[in-house]
Symmetry: C2
Subunit: 167 residues, 2 copies
DNA sequence: ATGACTGATCTTATAATGCAAGTGGTTTTA
DNA sequence: TAAAACCACTTGCATTATAAGATCAGTCAT
């Protein structure tokens, strides 16, 4: 994401050209798992502390390349609402694999990796259910019965609560 | 891959910190699917044209972070042989997902995406077989019966031959 | 000993990043 | 209604990362 020139037609390379930087997937992750939908939410609730200019730049690039869409917020004339698109919703299996790999091979924190653990255990069936739900949240698709989002959030909050009382 | 500071304990973020740049996964891909084992092979056979200083830098960083290992080549005192390690072999499912996504959402070339197609169709069973084979090639594990590497290579060469006669 | 190869480095230029402050507007509050 | 707070960005600037090409000194086969 950054390049305009195409280095090669290899699918791994082209995926890296779109998403292979330090911030794009972080933003998509927050939109997807944290349901952050506007600029300020993405900026201030960022675990990693993204800078505002970088956030603005990436939102623009991701929107241009079709991974996000933006529409005006009717409740506030300056606010925009960012949504995932079908291509970025289809990143769910990729993000699940990244989470699974990171959980195994990097020094993750328990609180932030519980979601990755559930997604890994849930496997492709859970990923598909989550994608259905994201289509409802971001693309006006019908709301499915199962809410993977709620499952992940509940598990996260349970770990946070447990660790808060433990100390 | 560049950061020393840890931005957050999120597994997706930590994976990005290790691999989220434009070249690290390209190098791992070439080592994995192209069996390029030393500097010059990685440099000159690179589809994407990596610069020698970037290649040297990434090989050093990847080796430092445990994703590659390096040993001397007994046939040439200056040559090193780079190998995948267990953590990088476990990137197979991630690379398969990246290939699958890229094949669907970017403008891939037929020749370079046939491997991604096979890997996607083969699913987790094929990934596991490929990982077994990589352990034999890179980590002195016993050689398995099935050679996914040969299957991928044959399919690639078949497409190259078909397109050469057609075009 | 010569000429090609190897892995690596230097130079120079461009681009990305992080931080702080500022912009022009909108909404909320007193 | 005026002041304060909020909103989505934008700008300026210093730092750092990346890229392409030339160059380097060991090593090898002949």
């Amino acid at each position: 994401m950054v390049d305009i020139v195409q280095r090669s037609g290899c699918p791994i390379n082209l995926t890296l050209e779109m998403l292979g930087d330090r911030w794009s997937l972080i933003i998509i992750r927050d939109l997807m798992f944290g349901n952050r939908r506007h600029f300020r939410e993405l900026l201030t609730h960022s675990e990693e502390g993204i800078a505002s200019n970088i956030l603005a730049d990436r939102l623009r690039r991701l929107t241009e390349s079709g991974l996000l869409s933006r529409r005006d917020d009717p409740s506030h004339k300056q606010k925009g609402i960012y949504s995932l698109t079908e291509p970025s919703i289809q990143l769910v299996p990729l993000l699940a694999q990244m989470g699974a790999w990171g959980r195994r091979h990097t020094r993750v924190s328990e609180e932030l990796s519980i979601r990755a653990e559930l997604l890994e255990e849930g496997g492709p069936a859970m990923w598909a259910a989550f994608m259905e739900e994201l289509r409802a949240l971001h693309l006006d698709a019908p709301v499915p019965e199962r809410s993977v989002f709620a499952e992940l959030q509940a598990a996260y909050l349970a770990v946070v609560a447990k660790n808060a009382e433990a100390g």
